[in-house]
């Protein structure tokens, strides 16, 4: 297949690695990836992720049948893998909107290449995160009690409960992200409508495009709406993961009751989210041959952000240890000792290696420009961030106030299942999305290409 945009090294622009990028070439490069038949790789990935998704569904059925005792929980460690998953997935989900809106507000021109699939990543990750508390409540059939509705029991939700805050935060954020994603999709849906050859395609994209004509009035209004939503999105995203942090910080447990938790969770979310964006960007770039649009320079700047976040994470960890020592309470000091040398110490040292030490390699420009190295570091960060989430739960609950209650978590088959299987659903949704909508924002790329004088 000949590419519409041929990638070249000695390109005229920093963000478009091609000698020329006219409107037609950009549109073809992005839109034809959706219209052309897919390759074998997509089908293999699709079948694999479908199988894992079915596995996930079956495990949830088994969980509903047997109850949450199938996990390695006990009366001391009452939270487990699924809560860590919840925090981790919502962290991934935070990054998409955060990246997209912050880059829009700070007028970073390179956002056009990554914002679409970063926002899609948000939608799917938040949806998966939303499943987690529901299946962990033990009696999922009563989950709707979280919503205030007129009922014969004359009951109301307990508004001071962190679970209720979570419910509103996730629902609001998911709906907001859908709108934010859709608003920037409208002009591209219109381009797809106008390029579709099949009647079904024209109807599908025509309905998505809502009759968009690209008139100046529409562009002006769209831009007003989009930037205002981005300005609202940044505080919303920060508040969502802060509320997740409050699930822990609003308790009285050692290692949880810390005022640093909300900002520390937000940075962690951005950190793991950018690592996930690296992996998805590479998949999209390779799968659709978009080397000219998603360039090495994009990965280079993401590498810098990862480096910055890793430093902030290291600072957060250090301030936790310092405060435990400085606060002088025995439980806090012994918890830190338990983290470094207790039951889960190997996991804790792995976490520090993945989140703080290894990303320091990104100081070297050569590492930032090497895609293999970036993939390895991103995977390490994702693993490290998951370990951080699970260890926040394990360490504190295993080492609470009452030494007679100190117990460990019994990590078994079903814990592994609920850790791995959600990835199948995530991959499945993402694979479907890139076949249905253009993975890169075409109108942003056209604008960028004109500004850079590439046409």
């Amino acid at each position: 297949m000949t590419r519409a945009l041929d990638p070249t090294v000695e390109a005229g622009s920093r963000w478009i690695a091609s000698t020329r990028a006219s409107d037609v070439e950009i549109t073809q490069a992005v839109a034809d990836a959706v219209f052309n038949p897919v390759g074998k790789a997509w089908w293999i990935a699709m079948l694999a992720s479908l199988a894992v998704s079915i596995w996930f569904a079956l495990s949830i059925i088994w969980l509903f049948y047997r109850g949450i005792g199938i996990w390695g929980l006990n009366s001391t460690v009452v939270w487990g893998v699924v809560i860590a998953n919840y925090v981790w997935w919502i962290g991934i989900g935070n990054a998409g909107t955060l990246i997209s809106s912050m880059l829009l507000l700070t007028r970073q021109q390179w956002r056009g290449s990554i914002n679409r699939f970063a926002e899609a990543m948000t939608l799917f990750a938040v949806a998966i995160a939303g499943i987690m508390p529901i299946i962990h409540v033990g009696r999922p059939l009563y989950v709707y009690w979280l919503a205030p509705y007129p009922n014969t029991m004359s009951l109301w939700p307990q508004w001071r409960s962190a679970l209720v805050w979570d419910f509103w935060a996730i629902v609001s954020y998911l709906l907001f992200s859908i709108l934010f994603f859709y608003v920037s999709l409208i002009p591209d849906a219109a381009a797809m409508r106008d390029r579709a050859r099949s009647h079904a395609g024209q109807v599908f994209y025509g309905l998505l495009a809502l009759g968009w004509r690209g008139s100046t009035l529409q562009w002006v209004r769209l831009r007003t709406l989009h930037t205002t939503m981005a300005a609202l999105g940044v505080p919303l995203v920060c508040s969502v993961h802060s509320i997740v942090g409050l699930d822990f910080a609003a308790s009285l447990m050692p290692g949880w009751q810390e005022s640093i938790f909300p900002p520390y969770f937000v940075v962690g979310a951005m950190y793991s989210g950018f690592a996930m964006v690296v992996l998805l960007a590479l998949a999209v770039r390779w799968g659709f041959g978009l080397q000219a649009i998603i360039t090495v320079n994009h990965f280079e700047v993401i590498g810098r952000i990862l480096l910055m976040s890793s430093i902030v994470m290291g600072y957060s960890y250090a301030s936790e240890w310092f405060m435990a020592w400085y606060g002088g309470r025995h439980v806090d000091r012994s918890l830190v000792a338990f983290e470094f040398a207790g039951t889960y110490a190997p996991l804790f040292w792995t976490l520090l290696f993945c989140n703080v030490l290894l990303p320091q390699a990104l100081w070297w420009p050569r590492i930032r420009r090497s895609l293999d190295a970036l993939v390895a570091i991103s995977i390490a960060i994702l693993v490290g961030m998951w370990l951080e989430r699970i260890l926040i739960i394990f360490n504190t609950l295993s080492h609470g106030y009452m030494p007679s209650l100190h117990r460990g978590f019994d990590f078994g088959l079903w814990d592994w299942t609920f850790l791995v299987a959600p990835f199948g659903l995530f991959a499945l949704l993402f694979l479907l999305l890139v076949r249905l909508v253009p993975a890169v924002s075409m109108f942003d790329m056209r604008e960028l290409s004109h500004k850079e004088g590439m046409t």
Binding site: W212, R213, I243, F443, D444
Partner: protein, 173 residues
């Protein structure tokens, strides 16, 4: 007014030049259709400021206030629970939910105001009948202009044809 004319250009600069020329000659520049937002076109076409932000602010504040009132009513009046003699009206934690739903409500109001202001959704439009108009979303730039009478219309067509790829007469949209 005679029927408006739609001129097709392959470069944004050509469109802007033509737009300035027809405005100088006193014709009506009605609208422009571009594959991406072209800077400065909104000033040339004197697009009115939209009230989208005001609508978003109002919608967000109303919904946030309603959410706060709902919590205060249920926790203080309808279903008071005395837990360790803590105050029933714990307004600090009642601020979390209003913020979340308020932001979402603002976004939803913004999308509704945007669609209403743009006249969307719309299943069909007269411009979609114009041949090649599908390129307005891909790579070509269109200018819609009108003239007061037939004589002016001929002058307008002449100006447009001097630089445009193609000029078409449009049925009244």
């Amino acid at each position: 007014m005679s029927r408006p004319l739609l001129a097709e250009f392959d470069r944004p600069a050509a469109l802007v030049t033509a737009l300035r020329r027809i405005k100088q000659r006193g014709h009506l520049a009605l609208d422009a259709f571009t594959p991406y937002p072209v800077d400065g076109l909104d000033e040339e076409l004197a697009i009115a400021r939209s009230p989208i932000r005001a609508v978003m602010l109002a919608g967000g504040l109303v919904v946030a206030a309603a959410a706060f009132a709902l919590q205060a009513y249920s926790a203080v009046i309808d279903y008071p629970i005395n837990s360790g003699n803590r105050p029933l009206f714990s307004w600090q934690v009642f601020l979390l939910v209003p913020f979340e739903v308020g932001v979402f409500a603002a976004a939803l109001c913004g999308v509704c105001a945007f669609l209403y202001g743009c006249g969307l959704p719309r299943l069909h439009h007269a411009l979609f009948d114009v041949p090649a108009f599908e390129r307005a979303t891909q790579d070509h730039f269109f200018l819609l202009a009108g003239a007061c009478d037939d004589a002016a219309s001929r002058d307008l067509r002449q100006i447009l044809e001097s630089s445009a790829i193609c000029v078409t007469e449009v049925r009244e949209p």
